[in-house]
């Protein structure tokens, strides 16, 4: 036997052994365990679910499970969910949820199935639970129960027009103060353009405002009380509303992502705080690709405390087949699928995926994508998921924040009045238990 032949044999054996071990671990995990079952997925129509569902057929092929998708716009989806859950119906097996918004409330109502055990013992070998963003997992954990698996990571970032900034002699702003200074210059230099835009619609304000509050160094609560009238709280309210009043578009009090992306896309806004998730909408039509710069949410006195949230995938507590439902959840949040979603522009909640060569290649195709990923890296590493008050009545707390900001934009109240009124309502909410 020649040396070469031996080497070949050893190599072959090694390959064969390797093949056996992978086969063994694959056999350990039986994807076909729930073949023939039907899992119903209540989805929110957004880019995240859209990207995921392009691989629906793969899931059905892999598991033999039929996936029934019921997709609605966010409010309608929640309305359906609340009805189904209140009736303790098993009609929905898996649903999308925003832990930062409704997590505490849904968890207390007992609507989430507990994923803590299944995510460890019932997961495929390559699931890599530890690879998911720790901050997002923590945000989805209530009373020690893991309630949903992160599908994506997102947060407000700064979109700006490089050409306009250049024309007006402004450097891309790094701090909130610089945003205001830039807006002032742009207003003077080009009256046809809206210098700055951000969310102004009452329930939507908290998403972008929270980031500003945290960057300025404020907090929503102190000693169990609402803290909007603290100097930092007032500064945040004042700055946010002043930016929108003095430099925002008329009618900004009705603005949410829809109007903001339309305004920016048509080239009528110079700077905007908007969700990283909106990149695709902001760039639609291709006009803005060449003149857009992206940056993390500008810093305040407390530096950068970015807001990082994500949609989660939860198993209903009333599902009759939580184990089959979990199979869908783990498939959908697996490294492989999240990598495939990433190249469709869904920021992965897994740092490892963000460093994947294939994904990097996609990122490097456009400078805008590079900046986008850089901003997301800041989000992922330093993000806080606090949007609105960290209480069960979080959705309602967002209304008070939005109301205060709107009162100031419309000059219906003084700063002291607006924050005091908000604090009063919020203290009552906090006291509700």
């Amino acid at each position: 036997m020649s040396k070469n032949a031996l080497a070949t044999r050893v190599a072959v054996t090694a390959v064969a052994l390797g093949a056996i071990t992978t086969a063994a671990s694959a056999a350990d995990f039986d994807w076909k365990k729930f073949q023939g079952k039907t899992v119903t997925f209540l989805a929110n129509n957004n880019p995240v679910s859209a990207a995921l569902l392009t691989y629906k057929a793969d899931f059905e092929k892999l598991t033999g499970i039929t996936l029934k998708v019921d997709g609605y716009q966010e409010q309608q989806m929640r309305q359906r969910l609340v009805t189904v859950m209140n009736a303790h119906s098993d009609e929905v097996d898996v649903f999308m949820s925003l832990p930062s918004r409704e997590g505490e409330q849904f968890a207390a109502a007992g609507w989430y199935g507990d994923l803590s055990a299944m995510s460890k013992s019932e997961a495929a070998a390559d699931y890599d639970l530890a690879g998911l963003s720790r901050a997002l997992l923590k945000a989805a954990t209530f009373n020690g129960k893991l309630t949903s698996m992160p599908m994506n990571i997102e947060g407000p970032i700064l979109y700006y027009r490089t050409d306009i900034l250049k024309k007006c002699g402004v450097e891309p702003p790094k701090t909130i103060k610089e945003v205001e200074a830039a807006a002032e210059k742009i207003k003077a230099c080009d009256s046809a353009i809206t210098p700055f835009v951000s969310r102004g619609l009452k329930p939507a304000v908290a998403y972008t405002f929270s980031n500003m509050l945290h960057n300025i160094g404020g907090s929503y609560m102190a000693d169990g009380k609402s803290n909007l009238c603290s100097p930092k709280g007032k500064e945040a309210l004042d700055t946010y509303s002043r930016l929108l009043r003095d430099y925002g578009p008329p009618g900004v009090v009705n603005y949410s992502f829809q109007q903001i992306s339309a305004l920016y896309r048509t080239g009528r806004a110079a700077m905007s705080f908007e969700s990283s998730n909106e990149l695709r909408t902001m760039m639609e039509g291709g006009e803005r690709l060449k003149d857009t710069g992206l940056a993390p949410f500008p810093a305040g006195e407390a530096g950068q405390v970015p807001t990082a949230i994500g949609w989660g995938m939860a198993v209903s507590a009333f599902s009759k087949q939580p184990d089959a439902a979990w199979y869908f959840v783990q498939w959908a949040t697996s490294p492989d699928i999240q990598k495939r979603m990433a190249v469709q522009g869904i920021a992965p909640p897994r740092p490892a995926v963000a460093n994947d060569p294939e994904y990097r290649k996609w990122i490097d195709e456009q400078p805008v994508r590079q900046q986008w990923q850089a901003a997301l890296d800041v989000l992922a590493s330093r993000g806080s998921s606090e949007v609105g008050y960290p209480i069960a009545a979080n959705p309602e707390s967002r209304d008070f924040i939005g109301q205060a900001v709107q009162d100031l934009i419309l000059k219906q109240k003084t700063l002291d009045q607006a924050c005091a009124d908000a604090d009063k309502g919020l203290d009552a909410l906090i006291a509700q238990k």
Binding site: Y72, R268, G285
Partner: protein, 275 residues
Amino acid sequence: MNSTLLSETLIRRLNTAQLVLAGILIMSPTAWMVLSSFKPSFEVTAYPPTLVFSPTLENYVELMQTTPFFSYAVNSLVVTLGSAGLGLLFGIPAAFAVSWTRISWPAVLALAARMAPGTLFLLPWYVMFRQVGMIGSYTALILSHAVITLPIVIWVLLPSFDNIPRSIFEAAQVDGCSITRVLWKIALPLVGSGIAVAAILSFVFSWNYFLFALVLSNGDSKTLIAAAFNFVGEGSTQWGALMAAATLIALPPLVLAAIVQRWLVSGLTLGAVKG
């Protein structure tokens, strides 16, 4: 003589002018919708609004590719025809009885379901229909939509029945007709225009009603209007596809109205009999 002729032409011209004005006010938003359905999505919200553009069918293509549009349309049609039919079936005799007896509480009661916010019914109906295993069935949707069509039929027909002179009925009764016979043989043919209006309205209301389908249907029995929501959402509002869906959704009621209106204008109206 001459002066009356002159003023008649003047009146006719005034009428035409008013008609044109009303037409512009009413139809320009609708035209905006239809035009938008032929624009690429991002151009729908372009500023300044584009009037001249190269029309595209991509929205319609996308609509057909991403949603089982026709099977949803079939769902909508079944539910709408079922509930409008049920509304007419129950509503016509009830309206006649109320008009005859002048005891109006059945009409008010039938309207009761329209007095409460639709959301009030969501959870109870969900529980109710689940108990009997009818979630996702056409029956559940037809029954829930009939709650909307029934009061419309009753209330639209009430004034029509009221307008029929009692003497006609009394004569028939003297001839030995039962009340039911009076209704079908004499009253019904006299309220053609009322029935035309009731039918159009029932159809439109049921066709466009979204809320009950949200919880009572499942993926398979989804109605067209619920499917239109697929194009609205964070980061993904597809204006073009939405407007295309809206244009197609508005077509069946429009065609129905066109057909029924001919009946409404020239058909079996009371005037002909009364005169």
